[in-house]
């Protein structure tokens, strides 16, 4: 095998794991846990290895032709700085969530089914990131979405089923918009390969099709990434799912299916104009403020975190919408940081739920003495999400605010500051009502969460603390590679087609 052959492995490994688990999981006890651990560890290892492989590749891009068919005729897989950045993020979170689920899912029956769906979701997300074909992107997006609808309903209580149904309806509407957008682009350009499409669109400008499909994609991917006018499904779906799935949904699913696809299509295929950027910035700023205001008044811990996710995705979209190198750097860096600390917060809420049996802020209290590790990891994540200096969230928010001011958008900069302060207030509320104060009588006997759960949360907390180091010159390549791809815009077409023509 050549080194480039690891690119399709990001789809092969989770797909094989999913069906192996559903085949042998019912017969051999604990086999599902072994398979999911090995496959997610392998994916994490391969994604980091692929990032270093990319450094030595000519033009910092690797194109894999499936079945030996050269684009635009066959489907190709494109690994560039942005894909690689997203792959590392997704597989990092997926690994820790998988380890956490080994213990956490003991409360539910039928672990093999859970891990099957979990693997399929990872397969869908990896596929969306790695593919170079627009229809292929849609197929993987549906794999990930449908797996997540089933996972939200995993508890099969009335609340879960209702949330899952709502999520399925909204998700299907989003998929329909995306599908219609792809159909219009296909009829206009007669190709589905993303690079070829960008090449043809570049000399067919001034057509009504482009802004029309732009709006369709904005609605579709806006729904998937739950920007504010499209956010109604998220506060129901995230609390209803098992905590590990909430962490996946909030940490990476809305970013891969929503933000990444939006960026890839708007910047690399259609080409970003000032109009799209203004809309993105506005939606980002509105999400930022509305999300955190709604979060403040919540008393259900997971619902609070879900609303806070809307606000944090707003930061990412605002940063990317600025369109300047610094803004995009801030946006993508915040995307990574938010994946880490929001997954950590959701996993902590799962630990609290696992130990105390409730996640209502009015019923908990004083858990800091009984669950010292969870309390400390939660404190670290809270400070990171609120942007307290040494933690990772501070640097990304600072970069976004500086980029706003550099571009002269003082209003958006102010929104970002206000959003950050309100986030701090929100998480002070969590810390006070869950971990500080006196222990309630009925919670006297609870214990710290099991080892697998504590291991994941501690590792994620360490990444939160050290996340800021990614801005050091020797580690900057990870972020800079992703920013460079977004900045290249529609010249992506030429780069991919040139790389594909290499033997």
């Amino acid at each position: 095998m050549k080194a480039i052959d690891i690119i399709p492995l990001f789809v092969i490994i989770p797909l094989a794991a999913a069906f192996l688990i559903s085949l042998v999981g019912r017969f051999i006890k604990r086999s599902s846990e072994v398979i999911i651990f090995i496959s997610s560890l392998a994916l994490l290892g391969f994604s980091i290895y692929a990032r270093f492989l990319l450094n030595s590749a000519p033009g910092k891009i690797l194109v894999y032709k499936i079945g030996g068919w050269a684009p635009p005729f066959g489907i190709c897989m494109v690994m560039d700085g942005l894909s690689s950045f997203m792959l590392v993020t997704v597989n990092l979170i997926a690994f820790f969530v998988a380890v956490y689920s080994l213990s956490y899912m003991n409360q539910y029956t039928d672990k093999p089914k859970f891990f099957t769906l979990f693997s399929l979701m990872v397969c869908g997300m990896n596929g969306v990131i790695i593919t170079g074909d627009l229809f292929n992107l849609y197929v993987f997006l549906e794999i990930a979405s449908i797996a997540s609808y089933a996972l939200v309903a995993f508890g099969t209580e009335a609340e879960e089923l209702e949330a899952s149904f709502k999520y399925a309806i909204m998700g299907s509407i989003a998929s329909a918009f995306i599908f219609i957008g792809i159909a219009f682009l296909y009829s206009f350009t007669s190709t589905l390969n993303m690079a070829d499409m960008a090449r043809i669109l570049a000399y067919k400008q001034n057509a009504w099709v482009i802004p029309f499909t732009g709006v369709l994609f904005l609605m579709g991917f806006g729904l998937k990434s739950s920007l504010v006018p499209f956010h109604a499904w998220l506060p129901d779906a995230h609390p209803a799912a098992p905590a590990s799935i909430s962490a996946m949904l909030s940490g990476i699913l809305i970013k891969t299916l929503g933000v990444y696809s939006l960026v890839r299509i708007f910047f690399n295929i259609i080409g970003s104009t000032q109009g799209y950027l203004t809309v993105l910035m506005f939606l980002g700023a509105v999400s930022m403020i509305v999300g955190v205001m709604l979060a403040l008044s919540q008393w259900d811990l997971k619902r609070l975190l879900a609303y806070s996710s809307i606000s944090q995705v707003g930061y990412v979209v605002l940063g990317i919408g600025l369109g300047t190198p610094l803004g995009i750097l801030g946006g993508l860096f915040h995307l990574f940081n938010h994946s880490v600390f929001k997954s950590l917060l959701f996993l902590n809420s799962g630990s609290v739920d696992y130990a105390a049996g409730t996640r209502d802020l009015k019923e908990t209290g004083g858990l800091g003495k009984l669950m010292p590790v969870t309390a400390k990891t939660n404190l670290i994540a809270s400070m990171a999400i609120a942007g307290i200096p040494p933690f990772s969230g501070f640097f990304s928010k600072l970069i976004i605010i500086i980029a706003c001011i550099q571009k002269g958008h003082f209003g958006y900069g102010l929104c970002a500051v206000i959003g950050s302060i309100l986030t701090l207030v929100t998480f002070m509320k969590v810390q006070k009502f869950v971990f500080l104060g006196d222990v309630k009588d009925k919670l006297k006997n609870i214990k710290e969460a099991p080892f697998a759960m504590v291991f994941s949360t501690v590792c994620l907390a360490i990444i939160c603390v050290l996340g800021g180091l990614m801005l050091l010159p020797s580690l900057r390549f990870f972020l800079d590679g992703a920013v460079a791809v977004v900045l290249k815009g529609t010249s992506y077409a030429g780069i991919v087609l040139e790389a594909a023509s290499r033997p």
Binding site: I12, L15, A16, F19, S22, L23, Y64, I66, G67
Partner: protein
Amino acid sequence: MIDNPKSGMTLIVKTITRLTVGLILLFGIYIILHGHVSPGGGFAGGVIVALSFVHLMLAFGKDVAISKVSKNLASSLESIAALMFLSIALLGFLGGSFFLNILPKGTPFNLFSAGIIPLCNIAIGIKVGVGLFAIFLTLVIVEKSK
């Protein structure tokens, strides 16, 4: 099974079903196997195969259909078919690329031609057939409480 008037539909429906169900199954298999030379393929053929079992269930009741393909068998076959498809794709690595068609292509429009495409169609046919049947089984699993 035809002598049990309590389950399923009337004698007329049962008799007609007995005559046609095999033909429907055969037609599904034909569509799958000829997928690479004529319209159709794994998905369309798989749906027809599933319909033949659904037909059986509608006419004779749930128990008869489950005695032919149980839920566990359907679930296992579905996973096996998916893994089969993936391993056919993985075989391409022997020739140097994922999904590469490594088998000899033969003459066009012969039944034994097109390399791995008929094998892929068979895997997809099994997967879609048992998958759709399993979905139908799940839909009828709810019973009236006695």
